[in-house]
Symmetry: C2
Subunit: 162 residues, 2 copies
């Protein structure tokens, strides 16, 4: 499968307000997940105030990046495995069921973070990915994201929204 | 142990810049973790832009709140178990080793989140807590945080800072 755009730019408008990766959220991080061969990649430079202790990136931000890269990667891998041709507005939207993050070593601030996703397992409605955060070639944080496909009738059935 | 102030207001200045809970971070969330009997409690109201999909809180924010409440709770429980009298500037500072979050159901926006911590396990340098996010009496997210005590010589020994 070829995919030029980041997956987050191909979600339906309704699902594009996420603080971590929604193109329609003016305040958010705007994470962009690309397919490159067999893996997925995002890049992100934290702000100076995204600090844990002096010189190092806040763990909650790192968890957030892993979360959004995981759901984005799930969308890409799910489309690929099911033979779906992704077009504007039809990218499958996943939400996180479980997020498990291991902080291996401190992640330095003022560097570009490369976030890499690999497919671990895929079923009918669930995609598990391994997500690494890499700084200058070194993995500082690694996570696993279990992402769940939103049903088409999301809202009405699941959440009883009007 | 009695503790009137939130633990984050008793960290040394050097460790008070965290985006999630540092009192000296102007941009951050300023989470405040209190001891109440045997448990720890924080409260937080997300902003409207902390959205995942319409009406529901962004999972990365929820992971962040669990993270900071976990390290704050670790500090409190560690002080209690070791008989340390916490005063301004001497609260033990923990960082996260592992963060494992289960999203049980969507967390609605525009509500106060109550974040509750319980001690699971404590060793010489490690504290494991169970952290629940509760909205109007319902647990929507539950997590486990493995927090690691920073050594006194943090910076020089561990990170080779000048």
């Amino acid at each position: 499968m070829k995919l030029v755009e980041p997956i987050q730019d191909l979600y339906d408008e309704e699902f594009s307000h996420c603080y971590g990766c929604g193109r329609l959220n003016d305040e958010g991080y705007h994470l962009k997940t690309y397919l490159e061969g067999e893996i997925t990649i995002s890049k992100f430079i934290p702000k100076d105030y995204h600090i844990a202790v002096e010189g190092f990136v806040y763990g909650g931000l790192l968890a957030s990046l892993i979360d959004c890269h995981g759901t984005g990667s799930a969308s890409i891998f799910y489309a690929r495995e099911s033979g779906l041709e992704i077009k504007m507005g039809n990218a499958p939207r996943f939400v996180t069921g479980n997020l498990n993050v291991n902080y291996i070593k401190p992640t330095p601030l003022q560097k570009e973070l490369k976030i890499v996703g690999k497919l671990i397992e895929i079923t009918n409605r669930k995609v598990i990915t391994k997500i690494d955060v890499i700084v200058e070639g070194v993995i500082t944080v690694t996570g696993e994201v279990t992402a769940i496909l939103l049903p088409d009738n999301f809202g009405k059935v699941i959440f009883h929204r009007k």
